[in-house]
Symmetry: C3
Subunit: 203 residues, 3 copies
């Protein structure tokens, strides 16, 4: 279907690698939030790096006549990968904006789910590059299951939040962090869905 080291696919790989790196930095970072501004700054750096890959792809798309997969699919995959990065960066920024120095067990669990999703995304992109389209489905199913896990976790921790926290501003802050973490797993699911359409149209 496409030659191995196509610029689109090698850039998708860079994006996936950057996402894995950023998400692992996030998961480690939330365990020690002493310097929230450094934490947020570093995550913003990952996001800028990912933005540059997005621009590379768009520029390439404008000067390439024949693309390895449909232009719409390249656009959709680029956007959905970029959304994952924006999502996790937005989560990190909340710790700084809310002056939040202590994450709880639930945040660690969300971070763990997102780390696992990011690895599944990376594996899927590798398979896409090597034209092993049907093998991707195993990973997209996993990503969907991880999103379900995150959804259940969110319901559990928001329920507990309303049962235990009485300070409304504290409640607001923690609720928004949980919700943004859950939304990030929705973005991972969007990557999976985009990959599913690419498989469907190319196999």
């Amino acid at each position: 279907m496409f030659k191995k080291k196509d610029v689109f696919f090698s850039t998708f790989e860079e994006m996936a690698n950057t996402i894995v790196e950023a998400v692992e930095y996030f998961a480690k970072g939330v365990k020690d939030l002493k310097d929230v501004s450094e934490f947020a700054r570093k995550m913003k750096e990952y996001e800028n790096k990912c933005d540059n890959y997005t621009h590379t792809i768009l520029k390439e798309l404008n000067k390439t006549f024949i693309t390895p997969i449909e232009r719409e699919d390249i656009m959709a995959l680029t956007t959905s990968l970029d959304d994952v990065m924006d999502g996790i960066e937005a989560c990190a920024s909340r710790f700084e904006m809310f002056n939040f120095h202590k994450a709880d067990e639930y945040v660690f669990q969300f971070a763990d789910i997102i780390v696992r999703s990011s690895h599944q995304i990376k594996s899927s992109i590798d398979l896409l590059t090597h034209k092993k389209l049907l093998a991707i489905r195993e990973y997209t199913i996993s990503i969907n299951q991880l999103e379900n896990e995150a959804d259940e976790l969110q319901r559990k921790c928001i329920k507990e939040l309303f049962h235990t926290v009485t300070d409304p501003i504290e409640l607001m802050k923690r609720k928004e962090v949980y919700e943004m973490l859950e939304v990030t797993t929705d973005y991972c699911e969007d990557v999976a869905n985009t990959l599913e359409s690419i498989i469907m149209r190319n196999s």
Copy 2:
């Protein structure tokens, strides 16, 4: 355009029937919220049922070469129907998460709008199955009007909320319930818009 008992269309009908059933259960349920966990559990059951229909359609799409309407349209209609179900289930789950045992008149009014929208969706899907595409437009217009009604209702009740409720946590809970109910009518409108594009491309 397509044969009458096509698997895609019969599954869309099942989805629409399940949505009507779930929404009617919801509208009855909010009038008596003594057992919120049973209420939420039952709504989750409807959602799982709808998820299964979604998977049926996706699996079928992967093994079918010629589809009765464009693959993209089948995907978009499936997703938008599934979103309606996810929306109403998410509303129900809030009553449990927030330990909310008393819905107000506004919730009943939202529920009534969503019940009416779900019947319009069901009628539209029936017409789609029977290839009466142009007759669908009457229902999509109705669904749009119901969404406008819900939007006005939301503004009215959030205005009242800020005027009358002084407990910030109580306010937060009720605001989120109203907003989720309104979002569910947006999802109904997405179904209508998807049907509009299908009509446009096939008539």
Copy 3:
């Protein structure tokens, strides 16, 4: 590519003009919020006007066999322009719903960003009408930069909000106004992205 006074393009121009007018009215209005209900009413009027243009385009699309650009692009551009108007109208409505009579410096800054974006949108639509597709890119880049500005502004003012405001209900109101203003710049960015795809497919 298309004849100069095509009904689709002239209606897009009307939509862009109405958006500029509404956004400028908004920016002036937030400086003096004595009569919030008149402010909200007038903004709703602009929104209705924009809705009528949307209906004109959809009706025209249904009776036109050959369109100047792809039907999907016409739909996407219509929807994204309509979203900008809905966004700014929703912002205005909050002042009334929240009984909010005093906007702050941050609201003025957001309004200024949105005014500038709306002019960039208008210029883009004019270029589209005159088939100067490649010249549009300068404006879409600008709109993206303005969205980035709004995103940074939002982070700054929400951070300050949590540092300075202790009344949770006051905090909730102002947070929602800032967020809705930022979301409106996202909608402007969606217009830019839609224009980018139109350029890509037609040049």
